[in-house]
């Protein structure tokens, strides 16, 4: 068996593949965060919780309403995103003019509320969400056995990332959003209904998190705490990519997935830490992240 850096070729390739899958996942989550931060300057600490809500909504929808995975994939992001718009409209908006810190504090509080409440009703052990028929089983890639579902996650996540990137960087709406968050007062003086834009954007960003949540449901046990551990990793990804840089979030997400995957082979103990090492190195060399515009 051919070896590469001291591990069997097959294993190495396998790790790369898995890294990509996780990466796509990070990309999706950090994308939502980047959209919200980049456009609304809200450090959305509820993002992890909202991702968790996505997974839970899918689970409950299935158990109580019999709504299947595919439907959930559409409905859940809409619902969770929609509800989060209320949060923006009635909570976040009232502190929009304050330092970002307050947004962080508020969303952090919300995260505590969401998680705490669900814990009291569903405990923390986590429940299983069945993988839809079509996506069960796996593909034999020769060097590894890749569960079909993970392949699907890769595709779905990347597609969604691309769509979002296009929306924001290439459409007029995107331009409004970028400008509106810089000087919303002036945008209003131009006749743009900024508050509405902001609300929609927040809803969209959270929708992305919820979408990721639904994707995750069949992968990991659905538990109220599934989001909190992910949060700062995803946050780090956004920063490495360059705050608010959509493309940055996507590419960094993928990259970090791979790097983390390889760490799991060569120095597994550090798997959760490596991303921060990378972050330090990157910010040493490029103060505004890989794709961030220098202020």
């Amino acid at each position: 068996m051919t070896m590469i850096f001291g591990v069997p070729m097959a294993v190495f390739m396998g790790q790369l593949t898995l890294g990509l899958v996780n990466g796509a996942f990070y990309a999706l989550l950090s994308l939502g965060l980047a959209v919200i931060f980049g456009l609304l300057k809200i450090v959305n600490f509820a993002h992890g919780a909202q991702y968790m809500l996505g997974a839970f909504a899918a689970l409950l929808a299935f158990n109580y309403l019999g709504i299947n995975y595919w439907l959930a994939l559409v409905l859940v992001p809409l619902t969770v995103g929609g509800l989060s718009m209320l949060i923006e409209r009635f909570l976040l908006r009232r502190i929009a003019h304050l330092d970002h810190l307050y947004g962080l504090l508020l969303t952090f509080g919300l995260a505590l509320i969401f998680e705490g409440t669900l814990i009291n009703f569903f405990g923390v052990s986590g429940a299983r969400y069945a993988t839809p028929e079509i996506l069960q089983g796996g593909l034999n890639l020769g060097f590894m056995f890749l569960p079909t579902y993970r392949a699907w996650v890769l595709v779905a996540a990347l597609a969604m990332c691309l769509f979002t990137w296009f929306m924001i960087e290439r459409t007029r709406l995107g331009a409004y959003l970028r400008a509106g968050t810089e000087n919303s007062q002036l945008m209003q003086a131009f006749g743009v209904n900024v508050p509405l834009l902001i609300t929609l954007t927040y809803g969209f960003g959270v929708g992305l998190a919820a979408f990721a949540g639904v994707l995750a449901a069949p992968l990991y046990p659905v538990s109220p705490t599934m989001g909190s551990s992910l949060l700062i990793v995803v946050f780090a990804v956004v920063v490495i990519g360059g705050m608010g840089s959509i493309l940055g979030a996507i590419l960094t997400g993928l990259g970090m997935g791979v790097i983390e995957g390889l760490t799991k082979v060569y120095y597994p103990e550090a798997a959760n830490t490596v991303i921060f090492l990378v972050m330090i190195l990157v910010l040493m060399l490029r103060p505004a992240g890989l794709f961030g515009k220098e202020a």
Binding site: S125, Y220, P221
Partner: protein
């Protein structure tokens, strides 16, 4: 002379975090059941309960207990789940000479290097888990192991125990990987396990990590490809959450199972009516240990820690929970343990019909022999 005319018991456990379902609110209910069954008072002295959430933090735990002692003059602390909290708390108990009964913690160090004259370890610890499961698996022909180890003290200890047992019983550990604690995505490690070609993949981790590992393993068809999982620290609530599809045929060692005999079933049913889910061995252990404690207080006629501990140690324990139970001088309550296998969906007849008990591991063989003990209370 019962201090200030009341027997005061504090229940300290993780009420909201990872170990919530293992002990948590359910454990408190079990404790209340015990007090109620005992009649609510000892020799006329009413029994008073306090409870607190330790949020799995040694600080919080130790402070809560310190305050209970300073402010409320609490006599006994029950529950005690996360090992870090337990060790911190037992130090406080020793300093103030109060009693603690540890039901939730897994670390065998609790009654080894960290033993004190002020606490008793009731339900289980990693030693019998490794001992029971690993030995049985090797005997069934699973002689080459790959270990997924949680990268912290507890995981390392468990890994050591397993390795020893496996080698003693003629198997070998071909490899292991230490994953950070906690880890949500195990795919990479499972892949490495598959690459290792070992027959058995042992999970030297706990709680959410174990659950995640098992889920991922089933996704990657680990068992289909001829390997087998051995969960070393896995509880009823984990299996229930994972579902039989993912866990079927898993071998594990448990200190108690609700369906193991009539006594157990009878109590479990009462608990189920209260809580709505079947009790874990920890929750059952909390009831059992509290009963034994209260009886000791009654017999000793005092709630002084040392007197009660002596009294408790003097009595063998045989109730719905423990068989051939006795408390050793290191504070370890040794009792029969059971090797169980998770049923397949077909075999299972109900939501909670999860285990099949394969064999009993006699109390004296199950736990670390005193001869190997580093406990300061044991003269070697």
């Amino acid at each position: 002379e019962i201090s200030d005319g009341e027997v005061r018991i504090g229940y300290l456990a993780d009420m909201s975090g990872t170990y919530r379902d293992l002990a948590g609110p359910g454990g408190l209910t079990a404790l209340e059941m015990a007090v109620a069954d005992f009649g609510g008072s000892v020799n006329g002295a009413p029994i008073v309960l306090f409870s607190a959430d330790d949020r799995n933090s040694a600080d919080v735990g130790a402070n809560t207990v310190r305050e209970w002692i300073d402010q409320r003059n609490v006599d006994m602390v029950a529950g005690l789940v996360a090992s870090s909290v337990t060790i911190a708390v037992t130090k406080v108990l020793e300093e103030n000479d109060r009693l603690g009964i540890v039901s939730g913690s897994a670390a065998s160090s609790v009654t080894n290097e960290h033993c004190t004259p002020n606490h008793i370890h009731w339900v289980y610890d990693t030693y019998p888990l490794a001992n029971g499961t690993a030995r049985a698996v090797v005997e069934q022909g699973g002689d080459s192991w790959f270990l997924l180890t949680a990268d912290y003290a507890f995981g390392h200890a468990l890994e050591a125990d397993v390795t020893r047992v496996v080698e003693e019983s003629g198997g070998e550990v071909v490899g292991s990987v230490r994953h950070p604690f906690p880890t949500s995505d195990f795919s990479s490690y499972i892949l490495q396990a598959q690459g290792s070609g070992a027959k058995i993949v042992g999970l030297a981790n706990a709680g959410a990590d174990t659950v995640n590992a098992i889920t991922t393993a089933s996704q990657f068809g680990l068992t289909q490809s001829g390997q087998q999982l051995a969960g070393l620290l896995i509880f009823l609530n984990d299996v229930h959450a994972l579902g039989l599809e993912a866990t079927q045929n898993l071998l594990l060692t448990t200190g108690w199972y609700w369906d193991m005999d009539d006594q157990a079933r009878e109590w479990a049913q009462r608990y189920f009516d209260e809580v709505g889910s079947m009790p874990t061995m920890v929750q059952a252990g909390i009831y059992s240990s509290t009963m034994h404690y209260l009886e000791a207080v009654q017999a000793a006629g005092t709630d002084d820690a040392q007197a009660v501990r002596a009294q408790m140690a003097s009595q063998p324990i045989n109730d719905f929970f423990a068989r051939n139970g006795r408390i050793r001088e290191d504070g370890r309550m040794v009792h029969d343990m059971y090797l169980a296998q998770v049923k397949t969906p077909e075999e299972s007849t109900g939501e909670w019909d999860l285990y099949e008990i394969l064999s009993t591991i006699p109390a004296e063989q199950a736990y670390r022999p005193l001869s190997e003990s580093q406990c300061k209370l044991v003269q070697n």
